[in-house]
């Protein structure tokens, strides 16, 4: 049996050693991991405009290329729920370091009451045209799901979409991310009908055609995830309506 002093000493030394080793490693890798996280997020946003990037697939683009495209072609705007732009300082005051739209944590925003949320908007400049990328977030079967939706310059036609999830079942719910034909179905769909009525895009079971502008097929066997996508498309896209009305009336 060891004495109490010995135990206390042993634990103290061990704690110190462990703390030093981990802190050193953490600080050493911090820059890398922060940058990784930022690139991961940027890549996800660029995935929504995959077609407009030419033959580059964001999935296989190098880290530097992602950063370049993002800084050269994308303008970031933060909005509040009334459609007014929020300044960098105000976003930082909400606790998002950096203050750009990309720093907004959608997960935290989703927990706030609807009226108080801030929204990220990315305007992608193709050279000849402007594409608006919006972010939506909802609930899947196991955990949250989210997506970036790219709208053409008419602010009505969807030109691209990319979805991701926290922990949906591979082969079922996770197909929203893994199966490229799922986001592909959203291309060419429309948010408003010809009378200007808001529909967004909803998932339906079986047999939609190219002309069903507000409907896409759901993934069979993943009803809850698909319902989540529908819910988030109907609710999330609507958030941006005030801002879109504003720029269209200009």
């Amino acid at each position: 049996m060891h004495s109490t002093n010995y135990i206390v000493g042993f634990v103290a030394i061990m704690t110190t050693v462990v703390a030093i080793v981990l802190t050193a490693l953490f600080l050493g890798l911090k820059e890398r991991s922060d940058q990784n996280a930022a690139i991961f997020n940027k890549r996800a946003i660029l995935s929504a405009v995959k077609d407009q990037l030419g033959d580059q697939d964001p999935k296989y683009m190098g880290d530097q290329e992602v950063l370049d495209v993002f800084s050269n072609q994308i303008q970031q705007i933060s909005l509040d729920m009334s459609g007014a732009e929020v300044s960098t300082a105000d976003i930082e005051a909400l606790g998002y370091k950096g203050g750009q739209a990309e720093h907004i944590d959608m997960k935290k925003e989703k927990k706030k009451p609807e009226g108080e949320r801030v929204l990220p908007l990315y305007v992608f400049d193709t050279g000849s045209d402007k594409i608006y990328i919006i972010s939506v977030r909802g609930n899947g079967l196991w955990d949250e799901i989210w997506g970036n939706i790219a709208l053409g310059s008419d602010l009505n036609t969807i030109v691209g979409a990319a979805f991701d999830h926290q922990g949906e079942t591979p082969g079922l719910g996770a197909e929203i991310k893994d199966n490229p034909s799922f986001p592909n179905m959203f291309k060419g769909k429309k948010i408003y009908d010809e009378n200007g009525k808001y529909h967004s895009v909803i998932g339906v079971k079986g047999g939609t055609t190219k002309e069903d502008f507000h409907k896409v097929d759901v993934i069979s066997g993943a009803t809850v995830t698909s319902d989540g996508v529908t819910e988030m498309m109907v609710r999330g896209v609507k958030y941006y309506e005030p801002y879109f009305n504003k720029i269209q009336s200009k």
Binding site: I7, T15, V18, L29, S33, I39, G167, P170, L172, E175
Partner: protein, 245 residues
Amino acid sequence: MAENTVQETQVQAKPKEPLFGKKERKLLSDPLNDNNPITVQVLGVCSALAVTSLVYPSVVMSIAVVFVCAFSSLFTSLLRNSIPKQVRMIVQLVIIATLVTIVELVLKGFNYPIYKQLSVYIGLIITNCIVMGRLEAFAMANKPWRSFLDGVGNGLGYGAILIIVAFFREVFGKGTLFAGSPLEWNIIGPNNEIVSYTINTAAEGSWLGWYSNNGLMVMPAAAMFLIGIFIWIQRSYNKKLIDIS
């Protein structure tokens, strides 16, 4: 399947003959069959089920477990005479948790997408009973080098089951292999070249067009069935493992 892997590791182990006597080799090969952590010792099942829906995360997970298992055994064994008995468990857990945190930080720094994918399951390596179980049963009573080998062996035995289960689940459940990695191989999954306005769920346009993915395989429950079947096969060949109770 388990027999094959045993032979492979023995072949790999041979060139380093001086450090690998007969006993040392047994430490490496035993956990792969006779004393497999999952199917015989029933340790570390949790993560075996959660991450095995795809092969790639399972491989990363196995590497992480081999690393944690080997080095925690090594350190515990080095410290075995100076660890105070009363706080033994906490000391072991701190060693394991430190190594797991190292794994987490390294993954975060070098392979962020897989870090995202594994999320909480990296942390759960701490409570992977294999690591703790081997520390208690072996490393506390044996010399460092042998404890290290025991750790590697158990990590590999765990990894072997993990990857076999993941292989069946991914191929039959999703129709791909190594999805998410640079080696991604679409075996029977949908052909993404086909543009359609509906989802390609079955093997549309591929050489196995008649096959439809098995929805059961992607469920965590499928891992239970697969491990159950492995135990059945293993015990049919290896009669001494049969549970008499």
